[in-house]
């Protein structure tokens, strides 16, 4: 048997070494020196094979508050592309002389900071909707500097959102149906809404004046607000839900956006491209001093990346303005016909598998500079590599537990140290039998979905069997109805296993209430009236733990508690005769039943704990000797 454990440990250490080597290959983006080098195969228009499957949409609609996008370019300014010398060149008609030293050059030309050593890449560990940009500044930024990252328009980009004929027919059909159905609803709702506002004012005045009219006004307010306004609004919402449901998936397999949002995105982008070649993104009007560096993103670049002070920004959506800004409405009379207000701006997520060209606009006051950043294609990432260490640990522990259970099945004579609380179970039940008093068993206050309750119910089965053997009574007041059902089954099985099915009383396992202190009061009442000789408090407890245990102590019962509620342990330790602390609760089930499955699981947990202790000792040692232990941190830290 010892050899099997050694072999298991060796396999685990090998797995650990393997995972270490995987963890060291951090996800650095490919180095692109030239700004216009692309990462990944660019997707040619119409190249379906190169395209990643489209993703379901998020709601891109934004209810704007009149928030205006800043102008893409300051009017009258010329664009200056990267590499142009600014000294001696007039930048703009209304050039502002900057006072900061280093930014001005003799002859009147001013130099804004410019990005260099730019890298553009697909952001790993996301769903495929982001492009990352890394750069250094050549020159100094100030609190007034602002940057924008923009995406170049292209017919291919617009085609992503163009509706096919089928899609357009479907959308039109549904919009017509919506309009027809809303014709009866909207006038009633809008009228009720207006009257509700007036009635509310009048009602408040009547209440303040203690006028007899208040009762009549309240009735009318109720009629308008609830019956007409809210009911009509609910019907309107249901019709809109129907529209979204019926147009939720477009026909060509691109189910990333529902049809309405797709059409909206198309029209907004069309309007944006009509205004200029470049379209704004989520990186807009950003102060460069607020931008974080590579070191701030260990989940993307690791704990100790090269060029850690390089600035990093992620572009994940396009920002487009309502076409009404250039005189083109999304729908004619949309509010009256569909009760729909087009938002002022929308945020359109980037599409996986599409190539985007980027540029950076640097502004300070009225000075503007633009710089081509190059481009890259977004890719759908199917594995979040920042969670790789988590996956490895989870897989290793799962394998450990399952292997230990398999070994335990072949060799069931496994040693578990004595747990004093459990040795006392027999004593407690025997005492109850002698005194002719029942045993009270509580499964805790959590629902069955929680693990302490499962462990408590497990132990209940074993205790029920012992009680059936001793021919004693068992009371199990439950707080959760699902726990009640399972507890009844478990106790019944225990009695059947002991060969005493006739002694089982279903009424002894009962539901009390699901309110915490009402349950506590009821259970304390049972303790005071029935005076059980033994109390078992197993499971998860909250503030009522001391109330229960102190009441039980006052009746003179022997008390055994088992909980992993760390906050309640001191109360149980003080008032109970025996306490199972933390995972002793989980070990108790194995101890009582000696089942191979439970024993093996316990052994596996112990090995897992030994591994964790080893890692803690290693980390402590490395910290003390100031060695470079980032490789170990990569293995264990959540990134």
């Amino acid at each position: 048997m010892r050899r099997s454990w050694l072999v298991l440990l060796a396999i685990l250490m090998l797995l650990g070494a393997f995972s270490l080597s995987l963890a060291q290959t951090t996800d650095e983006p490919p180095d692109t020196d030239a700004p216009d080098q692309e990462v990944g195969a660019p997707v040619e228009p119409g190249d379906e094979e190169g395209q990643e499957p489209a993703l379901p949409a998020e709601d891109v609609e934004e209810a704007g508050e009149g928030e205006e996008e800043p102008a893409m370019e300051a009017p009258g300014d010329e664009e200056i592309s990267a590499g142009d010398e600014l000294a001696g060149e007039e930048v703009a008609a209304e050039e502002t002389e900057l006072e900061e030293p280093g930014l001005g050059t003799p002859g009147g030309g001013l130099v804004l900071p410019r990005p260099n050593q730019v890298e553009v890449f697909d952001v790993p560990n996301d769903g495929g909707a982001g492009l990352g940009v890394l750069w250094y500044w050549d020159g100094a930024t100030s609190a007034q500097t602002r940057i924008y990252i923009e995406v170049k328009s292209s017919p291919e980009l617009l085609d992503e959102y163009r509706l096919t004929d089928d899609e357009w027919n479907r959308l039109s059909r549904e919009l017509d149906a919506l309009e027809a159905d809303l014709r009866d609803i909207l006038p009633v709702r809008n009228a009720a809404r207006a009257e509700t506002v007036e009635l509310d004012i009048a009602l408040r005045k009547a209440i303040a004046d203690e006028s007899p009219e208040a009762a009549r006004l309240r009735r009318e307010y109720w009629q308008k607000q609830i019956v007409e306004n809210e009911r009509m609004q609910t019907r309107r919402d249901k019709l809109w839900d129907r529209l979204q449901r019926r147009t939720g998936r477009s026909s060509a397999g691109d189910d990333r956006l529902p049809l309405l949002e797709k059409y909206q995105a198309f029209r907004y982008l069309e309007a944006a491209f009509a205004q200029g070649e470049w379209i704004s993104t989520n990186i807009a009007n950003v102060n460069p001093e607020m931008i974080e560096t590579k070191a701030d993103y260990p989940d993307l670049f690791g704990l100790d990346p090269e060029e850690a002070d390089k600035l990093y920004a992620a572009v994940n959506s396009l920002r487009a303005v309502n076409p009404a800004a250039i005189g083109e409405e999304l729908f004619v009379n949309a509010e009256a016909r569909y009760d729909y207000q087009a938002p002022n701006t929308v945020s359109i997520p980037l599409t996986p598998g599409v190539h985007y060209d980027l540029r950076m606009v640097v502004m300070e006051g009225e000075l503007i500079q633009t710089h081509d950043l190059g481009g890259a294609a977004t890719r759908t990432n199917y594995l979040d590599r920042s969670k790789l260490n988590n996956l490895i640990f989870a897989a290793v522990f799962a394998a450990l537990i399952l292997s230990a259970i398999a070994i335990a099945r072949r060799n069931p004579k496994m040693f578990i140290r004595r747990i004093s609380g459990l040795e006392a179970v027999d004593e407690a039940i025997g005492r109850a039998t002698e005194m002719g008093k029942p045993v009270l068993y509580l499964c805790g206050l959590d629902p069955l979905s929680t693990l302490p309750t499962i462990a408590a119910v497990n132990i209940l089965g074993r205790v029920a069997r012992r009680i059936a053997d001793y021919d004693s009574d068992l009371l199990v007041p439950c707080r959760d109805p699902v726990v009640l059902t399972v507890a009844q089954e478990v106790v019944k099985e225990g009695y059947i296993d002991a060969g005493r099915p006739d002694a089982y009383r279903e009424d002894n396992i009962f539901f009390v209430t699901d309110d915490q202190f009402s349950y506590t009061a009821a259970t304390c009442g049972i303790m005071m009236r029935e005076k059980p000789a033994a109390n078992f408090f197993m499971g998860y407890y909250y503030a009522e733990s001391l109330l229960l245990a102190e009441t039980g102590a006052s009746t003179g019962a022997i008390q055994i508690a088992g909980t992993d509620a760390l906050h309640q342990l001191p109360f149980f330790i003080t008032t109970c005769d025996y306490t199972l602390i933390g995972e002793e609760l989980y070990a108790a089930s194995a101890y009582l039943s000696r089942e191979p499955m439970l024993l093996g699981s316990l052994k596996g947990q112990d090995i897992g704990k030994a591994m964790v202790m080893l890692l803690i000792i290693l980390q402590t040692l490395f910290f003390i000797i100031s060695a470079n232990w980032n490789w170990l941190r990569m293995l264990v830290e959540p990134l």
């Binding site: 998020e58 934004e62 209810a63 809210e230 915490q516 909250y542 503030a543 906050h567 959540p638």
Partner: protein, 293 residues
């Protein structure tokens, strides 16, 4: 019966009476003991203080009336702090008995600061599911809470223009009477990269220090003392409501309660010392009697 036996056999009701007096007298005649602030509570206060106007803070009030004295004043203090800085709090609760208290707190503070639901704050109410609710909010807040507590649809609220999911919040604070802090850390704050603070009952506070030291929560306000410290920080930096000298900030409920708590704690410590001294004397006496016998 000598003093030692009298103490060791003291009726529980005498202890209950003294405890009652220790609570009532300081509430009637305040001692105004000074309260120092600790880095744990400053860890919550400073984060909210540094948030710019227009930020969004998720306030989870996961407690019921049983924990009201410890957590309700903290809820009011956090809301007042948010409104002073024009931060938008989004309130919700994972406990069924929580909405009543949260409604009272938000309506009180909204009336004081003249804030509007849907624009300046949103009270989402309660949903069953605990971890399932938090997970749902990581996808979409407005789909998990399609209406707020008052029945108004959330999707069209101005406050949800820029906030769609948990990751869009600037800070999360959980006022927990139970074990919801772990749920918010594991499913909300950590995976979504949102900083988080916790305020909890005194008995739970000790259990959250590992999270505090690991940086998974920025600060921890434990029990009534933690709440009182937060109130002290708020009063120190905002002595008047919205800077209006005619509206000085009233003393917080937790600050008032600390006098009573101090008295009870002193009584319990003294009673433990006295009981142990008497216990030691009685054991020595028994040993002597046995030796004589």
């Amino acid at each position: 019966m000598d003093f030692v036996s009298f103490v060791l056999n003291l009726d529980r009701r005498v202890i209950y009476t003294i405890v009652a007096l220790c609570v009532v007298v300081p509430l009637v005649k305040p001692l105004s003991l000074p309260i120092d602030t600790t880095p744990e509570v400053e860890g919550i206060y400073d984060v909210i203080e540094q948030l710019p106007a227009g930020s969004h803070v998720l306030v989870a009030g996961d407690f019921d009336p049983a924990s009201k004295p410890e957590l309700f004043p903290m809820l009011e203090a956090v809301l007042a702090h948010c409104f002073e800085k024009d931060i938008h709090p989004h309130l919700l609760t994972l406990w069924p008995a929580g909405p009543g208290l949260m409604q009272r707190a938000i309506e009180n503070q909204a009336a004081i600061y003249n804030k509007q639901s849907g624009t300046d704050y949103c009270f989402l109410g309660f949903r069953y599911g605990s971890a399932a609710v938090v997970l749902g909010m990581t996808g979409s807040v407005t789909e998990t809470f399609t209406t707020d507590f008052y029945g108004t649809p959330t999707a069209t609220m101005p406050i949800y223009e820029d906030v769609h999911r948990v990751a869009d919040f600037d800070y999360i604070i959980d006022l927990a009477a139970g074990a919801t802090v772990e749920i918010w850390i594991a499913y909300g704050a950590e995976p979504q990269g949102v900083p988080m603070g916790a305020s909890c009952t005194a008995v739970s506070a000790a259990g959250y220090y590992p999270y505090l030291q690991a940086g998974q929560i920025t600060g921890l306000a434990g029990g009534m003392l933690g709440t009182a410290e937060y109130e002290v920080l708020l009063s120190r930096n905002y002595p008047d409501i919205q800077g209006d000298k005619s509206r000085p900030r009233p003393t917080g409920e937790a600050t008032k309660g600390m006098d009573a708590q101090s008295a009870v704690h002193v009584f319990i410590v003294l009673s433990i010392i006295v009981a142990n001294v008497c216990f030691y004397l009685s054991v020595r006496r028994e040993r002597e009697e046995r030796r004589k016998a």
